[in-house]
Symmetry: C2
């Protein structure tokens, strides 16, 4: 049986929150609005970073997280790690970052100083320099404290990893527990806050990518950090780009008990929740054991696990549940948690 | 007499509109907050674009203009031209642009489509490809319709132009009339709109920079597009970076009658008003005539003029007025017109 997830076409006259939420609505906006207008071969690749002819990889990201301080980091930490990770998953070594700030009139200089210090710390940790910047201020009520854009530049030593290299037979490895970042942010959200010991996993992932490339050799095909839209969004990208069908095994997917509990309370699935320090790798089977062992010996990858595999009978994502049943994992219209990054 | 403009130190507990207005408050925020934290040799140069070791020049800019549509362009036009010009003034050929969008919930899809089409048109005109992007959506009232960040990448063929190459004896050339962009935007501003035939000058300036480098040869030292803060902000950057003293001649400075009239009405000086299609060049005298002739034969430089020269007796900017008197042109605390780009 050829498995195909049906994809409805969404129609909107106005931008809605779902258009920024890493799901189907965002994907269609990007396709119909931005890719249609800006079309060129580099953009068309749809990898997290564009690979320029001189082997430089470039990626850009805006950060609008709410609240701006959360357990395990702040918007500044996120603005560095988020972008260097998007560069790193192409296989490139992140080198430079630019930073653009949109500040709301009245924003605290003390908070700004803390955020900027966190950016420097994260940049040092990730081995990048912040080489250019811009500052704009908008009147009270025209922004929410602070928004940051970062653009990252890295240099590739070998061929770029890409979703277009995914093949049937590839195994899927995730580098640790899912949903930590999203739950940490939501636990502090105004009007929602709840008690949890979960902290954001935000971290620089270049070392893990490098380990995978070194240990997995040519077997490593594609790599993504599972941010907005979580694991499910990454897997749909994998499936769409490579015209493959993905089978997951629920029992193998690492999720903290506290995250599982918070997700149950919120009525959402941890596999749809954003991470800021977790990789998903598509790798040919011969390289998988070496990478898994290498990741499990690294502080950021201790709970790495093989969670599924890639098949050729269709396009989509299904999961074999703990109860022995199978269910389809549709790409949601939008991630359940808005403004998570 | 050694001339030195006194520079007061400003103190703020909160971010104010002036911190984004291209004047002294913004300069001090950048120095005390961002440069202090992110410090590295590439950033320290303080040119519009950072020059990376591989001869790539990179620049980033956030656009928050209000209103988003104005005579002669829109926020999309500006987001491309503004950034490619910041790359071009280093002497680099702009090649790639990334684009990050922060959209307000409820923003019109029709308007978004117009803006995105303008970006493609401007990118084609400037000879750049938009290679990476990001979209975030924030709730109603947490942004003002649309903010755009662009980061530009260009390649240098020779040594970068830089404010640090400015020398006493250099002449200053401006590529045309001043203040057009700011006045065009303000004429449409809610609560202020007035009748004028002025349209924004926003345009890609790489051809003019290239002409200057070709015709002026090694004589071209520094080049800037006179955006936020206008001519006066650029000249203060020149003076501060090169520890020189700048003398202008009011009678030689090209300003449209309609811009002069609007500025009088608004009680501001056209030399402090933003442009999006005007260059200011510091050039050794032997190259000045050739560049002036070349610019005057180019559609974007017809009204180019030599407007002043650089001296070594101090740091600051003065102007010889039409009335034969001399006055100091202080760097204002902020540009008089907020959210102009």
């Amino acid at each position: 049986m050829k498995f195909v997830c049906p994809v409805p076409r969404l129609k909107y006259d106005q931008v809605q929150m779902v258009h920024g939420a890493g799901g189907m609505a965002m994907g269609q906006l990007i396709d119909d609005m931005f890719l249609a207008a800006f079309d060129n071969p580099l953009l068309r690749c749809r990898d997290d970073a564009a690979v320029l002819p001189n082997q430089w990889a470039v990626s850009t990201d805006c950060f609008v997280v709410d609240p701006i301080f959360f357990p395990g980091g702040n918007i500044g930490t996120l603005a560095i790690y988020g972008t260097v990770n998007d560069v790193a998953v192409s296989g490139a070594t992140p080198r430079y970052v630019t930073a653009g700030f949109i500040l709301e009139e009245g924003f605290s200089m003390v908070d700004l100083r803390v955020i900027v210090a966190s950016m420097r710390e994260a940049a040092d940790d990730a081995g990048v320099q912040i080489v250019a910047g811009d500052t704009k201020v908008v009147p009270r009520g025209k922004a929410d404290k602070i928004y940051i854009n970062t653009t990252g530049l890295g240099i590739l030593q070998g061929p770029a990893l890409s979703v277009h290299r995914i093949r049937p037979g590839d195994l899927l490895i995730v580098s640790g527990t899912l949903g930590d970042h999203g739950i940490a942010v939501m636990s502090q959200r105004e009007g929602l806050s709840f008690e949890t010991d979960v902290t954001s996993d935000c971290a620089a992932l270049f070392d893990l990518v490098q380990l995978a490339v070194d240990q997995g050799k040519g077997a490593v095909h594609a790599c993504r950090d599972a941010t907005r839209g979580g694991l499910v969004a990454v897997l749909h990208e994998f499936a769409q780009a490579s015209h493959t069908f993905i089978q997951l095994h629920e029992a193998q997917i690492p999720i903290r008990e506290s995250v599982r509990g918070a997700c149950e309370m919120l009525g959402i699935d941890a596999m749809n929740v954003a991470n800021e320090g977790k990789l998903v790798l598509a790798i040919a089977p011969e390289g998988a054991d070496a990478v898994l062992r290498a990741w499990q010996s690294h502080p950021l990858g201790r709970q790495s696990a093989i969670i599924g595999e890639i098949h050729d009978e269709g396009v989509g994502v299904v999961i074999n549940t703990r109860f022995g049943t199978q269910r389809v994992l549709d790409l949601p219209v939008g991630e359940p948690l808005p403004r998570i990054c």
